[in-house]
Symmetry: C2
Subunit: 414 residues, 2 copies
Amino acid sequence: MKILLKNVILDRKSSDILLENGKISAIAPEISAPDADIFDGLDKMAVLPPFYNAHNHAAMTLLRGYAEDMELFDWLSNHIWPVEAKLTAEDIYIGTRLATVEMIRSGTVYFNDSYWHPEAALKAVKESGMRATLGLLYLGNVSDDAKSANAALIEAAQDIDTIEVSHTPHAIYTVDRATLQKISGMMESDGRKVHIHVSETAKEVADCLKEHNMTPVEYLDSLGLINERAMLAHCVHLTGHDREIIAARGAYIAHNPVSNMKLCSGMFDFEAARKAGCKIAIGTDGTSSNNNLSMIDEMKVAALTAKSVTELPTAGKTADIFHAATAAGASFAGVDAGEIAVGKAADMILVDLDSPVMSGNYDLIADMVYAADPTVIDSVICNGKFLMRNKVIPGEKEIIAAAKDVCRKIASWK
Amino acid sequence: MKILLKNVILDRKSSDILLENGKISAIAPEISAPDADIFDGLDKMAVLPPFYNAHNHAAMTLLRGYAEDMELFDWLSNHIWPVEAKLTAEDIYIGTRLATVEMIRSGTVYFNDSYWHPEAALKAVKESGMRATLGLLYLGNVSDDAKSANAALIEAAQDIDTIEVSHTPHAIYTVDRATLQKISGMMESDGRKVHIHVSETAKEVADCLKEHNMTPVEYLDSLGLINERAMLAHCVHLTGHDREIIAARGAYIAHNPVSNMKLCSGMFDFEAARKAGCKIAIGTDGTSSNNNLSMIDEMKVAALTAKSVTELPTAGKTADIFHAATAAGASFAGVDAGEIAVGKAADMILVDLDSPVMSGNYDLIADMVYAADPTVIDSVICNGKFLMRNKVIPGEKEIIAAAKDVCRKIASWK
């Protein structure tokens, strides 16, 4: 299966790009490939790396807007958790499928997920053609249901190159030390990644200092869980020493600026982490605390918060923010992508430069970070295949209809 | 000219809505009007009030992404001002026309503008069918060019019901006391509105306290410029006394959360102003400090900053934010709109509930504030006429082509 992109704009020049076997095999002013599927960019479609969403709870699309403007504990215990307890594997398959449609429309090809019934999420990801890291469940006591979901996830993921299975202990305050130690031990032998919420709130840090006389990062480091296969979600409340540890170990931070503002968790200092040498990726978190999965929205708020928190207009530079939303997440996912070059994975978006917000075109990256919205994304390619082509995603209508049915069921529980 | 909206969703029910002579003349489950232009909402298009953008410099679309991530003075004096000095009236007509396309695509029907060559902006607004308040120039010494632009603006606006002319002294630090006093005097006789930047930065407030021993709001109030026809842009740094003055006088605040974060001006406390009884509208500011004109983006960041600045997840409630982006701006503009009811102005948007981000539909307003993006806006009606119908805006292609030519010219000046 070959795709030939004709007359697309790469670094301001009209180019042809050939995609073969999931990789970019040639870039030249003029390429001929009679056996390829040809896509004409009409000299107005710019090629850019797509987005890699570093922290998500995808099936929460089913709860978007379900309960707003509440105190955190009221929101979780009286609204979110009671509904989640009733969701079936089939519901979660449908919610994840809806999430894939929304992510593809906004230019995302990968997400790092943590949610109930990951084996059902896998089915949705597989159908969508996206890449994903899906998490084994460890929240609280791992029930028999969770054990069987975990086993099904590992089984189903075996033959899919673009989906991997990770350890996802929720957080240090919901998963005990013994389990965290066990996960650390497993990681040495199974080679899996780990995905965990870390230092999201000031309370988490204060409680950890009280209990362990260490920050959450120091505590996890003492257990061997801060390493180059770790995605540390949020990291809002870091000390200088925390940043040194994260940088030295080569761990990744998943920065979720919208969720942090919406839940009043605080503001992550992007520049402090960047200057300390931390790898920073960007995630949307779940839709309940966002409320969408657009990495374009997330980049804008990441740039704005980087400036606000330092009071420096030179902070959160567009190139750094774009890198965090693209190449950094790809690197965590183990995908050799994040730039459009021969030999790299054939992951890309085609951006319509005739969109009103893109028409200035002084600085394509600045336009993507600050001005764009999903209307500018014309097509999305992942692993050498179209996920969306000229705005069309196969099966979208049926997916949305099914999701609406689940949401109506949830509404009837109120 | 009658429009009959069939099978649209209003307050969760399928309805028909008849529009006549710029007003909503009937709402019922079933309306027949054989002589009307019929739009079928297919029981999936929700009707909502459109957005009223309270503070804009529309033609700055020509400078979107031109210079990023710089210190304010470097940015203005070395990049923005030198280019602005070279822009012609024709350029500003084209830039404003591009802005109207972008605003219409994101559901906006009105903007309160302040920029060079307002007489050229008027031509663009008139062609677009939007409503606007366009400002007379007072920045620094009013040059002969500005005087002639002002005269042309007043002349051209006379016969257009949907465009009005206001006084727009830029700010207290660029327009002297004598000119401000003169404007205050004119307002008593000419009935015009006033639009001015107020308390945008901490420096402005400190300088004003030093020079006048008053805050900027107190100073303007002493000159009679804080009144119910005043739109006070930014108001980031308000005292409790400032809020009392603004509330007592019935003046409007134009809250520009994205620009305030991007330029590191500080964060407006939405709840403090709301509780003090101030009328709060929302604006995008110009695209150079945003970088788009989407009131949807602006609502999201307004809600997020309201929560962040107070550390209260209950702050910046979706209904209050939506009201600020719709009804509050309409009220300033003097348009009896902001809700869909018989007798109100026929200003509305049609939102596609089959969009992935709208499919939960537990809370339409929360979905608009937090989840939506311009893809969900199917059609826009202003003063009883379609500005966009099923995503089509007449003349859009030519407008974008012309704007691209101007931007290429600007790029060649570098």
